[in-house]
Symmetry: C2
Subunit: 329 residues, 2 copies
């Protein structure tokens, strides 16, 4: 049984996992959907009630029924390296590739549907609440008056994008910023705005979760940190990520979250306050883990490889099958 990795050519994180899989003798096919059609080819036949599909990449042919798992790492847009690329060809190719892969029995890290749903910040916040994780008071609104009322109740606020990275080429991360005490909220009417009570943090927490395995790491806020620098991605720091034992309630909450979200992989960000409470900020279903592994020494790539190589049924219904407990009933 083969592990299929969908990612671009330059992907050091994928390299780390491939090295682990190679070391264990697990067959791997790695390809970039941007190379289909061309260096990558596919074929699927539906005859007499049965389906037989094949993928070809790098001179190797693999049967779709022989796929153990699919790791959706950083795949390119299908057909973008074709001889004559077009939106139409990308759509046709995407439907062919993912439509066939969706029909296989392979396990997904992460399933495209679960991944897409998991990107919705408002949904994340609600699922974290239902998973009994502490969530800082948050408002998402286009009503200026609602923003003003919220700022009266929670005077120390940060503002963040609702959706994450700005969709330019290359995507640009928008930093979380503090809201000035005399902020004018009238512009809220022109775009949904996410306001959140600022957590006066003494550490950032990154929990990298792979199936049932949790790798929690902690990075203390430096003693001379600027309290206006609330976004760890943009802060300079002398401190490093160190392994930490998560509180049992947080570990249980994170497992509930992943199960209900149908995710096999999730990178959680928490802020630890002065009382030691871990406040949920977000769960990135495609979050990087290379930097944590290098600094903390935690074997995340090993965990990913083990999950991808494991036989048997999916421990988490990887397309989010459980989430109907939360939605749509």
């Amino acid at each position: 049984m083969t592990v299929l990795i969908l990612t671009c050519e330059q992907d050091v994180t994928a390299d780390m996992v491939v090295a682990e899989l190679d070391g264990s003798g697990v067959p791997v096919v790695r390809l970039d959907p941007a190379d289909l059609p061309g260096p990558v080819a596919l074929s699927g036949e539906y005859v007499h009630g049965a389906f037989r599909g094949h993928l070809s990449a790098g001179g190797r042919m693999v049967s779709m029924s022989g796929l153990r798992s699919v790791w959706v790492r950083r795949p390119g847009v299908p057909a973008t390296r074709a001889a004559e690329p077009s939106d139409w060809l990308s759509e046709e190719t995407s439907q062919a590739l993912y439509g066939m892969l969706r029909s296989t029995d392979a396990r997904w890290m992460n399933h495209p549907d679960a991944a897409r749903r998991a990107r919705h910040k408002p949904w994340q916040l609600r699922l974290a609440q239902r998973s009994r994780l502490p969530v800082p008071a948050t408002l998402i609104t286009t009503f200026p008056q609602a923003a003003r009322d919220f700022a009266d109740r929670f005077p120390d606020l940060v503002v963040k994008p609702v959706s994450g990275a700005h969709p330019q080429e290359p995507p640009r991360a928008v930093p979380t910023s503090r809201v000035a005490p005399d902020a004018d909220f009238s512009a809220v009417a022109y775009g949904p705005t996410l306001l959140q009570r600022r957590v006066a943090k003494r550490a950032d927490i990154r929990m990298t979760c792979v199936g049932d395995r949790i790798h929690a790491a902690r990075k203390a806020v430096g003693p001379d940190a600027d309290p206006d620098e609330v976004d760890v991605r943009f802060a300079t720091s002398d401190t490093t990520w160190l392994p930490v034992e998560p509180p049992p309630r947080v570990a249980a909450g994170v497992r509930t979250y992943l199960r209900e979200a149908g995710l096999a992989y999730g990178a959680f960000d928490f802020a630890e306050d002065g009382d030691g409470t871990w406040w949920f900020l977000e769960c990135n279903q495609s979050g990087q883990f290379g930097f944590v592994q290098i600094e903390s020494g935690q074997p995340v790539a090993r965990s990913v490889a083990d999950w991808l190589a494991a036989p048997g049924p999916d421990p988490v219904p990887s397309n989010g099958g459980r989430a109907w407990l939360l939605e749509g009933h």
Copy 2:
């Protein structure tokens, strides 16, 4: 409890359903996400482990916890009618709106995840097979030799797009066409191609399914029909859609399909051959029903209104919760 309809302003099909709901005294809020922010506004607050959300449209305010169901009819792209539209604003607005709606207990027709998955033709064909519906022999390939071999085994073929409508503005439907006996398949290498055994049909079948209700209609092929005109959407015809009783096995298969796909609504196209067999061609999760209702007299709009207004839990886990039986296990 309120029914929320997401659609554009000019939508006669939605008008038909709204008339039914109004006649039953069911509260309805109809809005176009393109009008958010602006005429449509939203707000959601996450405080002390609870969520409270509101939508405002046409001067009416509705609580998200008061939504019974959401009908995703023909919604515009969020924020496209904003004062300063941009991809970034559309993404922020989409995440805010759908992220909140996904967190509610409302039932969906259809859930966005189930709808997205259901558009994949290769996945449709496999699910139809597993639902024991007859599927004409089909090949989807980028291997010219595979296409040649298939044409040897099944000499009478049609070719169709894998993905449906061509993504130009406005989208253009690509007709299904017969493959000439001496076809050169070398171009298959430049784009995935769907080849299917042609069904010599004596009628087209449209089954419009709403929850458990099936409205099956049949349109006979005219006696002087051109056998090269295989695509009913482009054929001229004197015959009309008439109600027909589906064979019990087909009705059972269609119900299995919808359940496993997590769809509350689906419009199935079949081709009836000379033996009376109904061959599955496709299931369009957003297929029109106005023309069938008008010609056949079947009360599809009434069924849609009844489903949207029905209290209680979702008869189908409407985000596709059951589909992990087929995928990813």
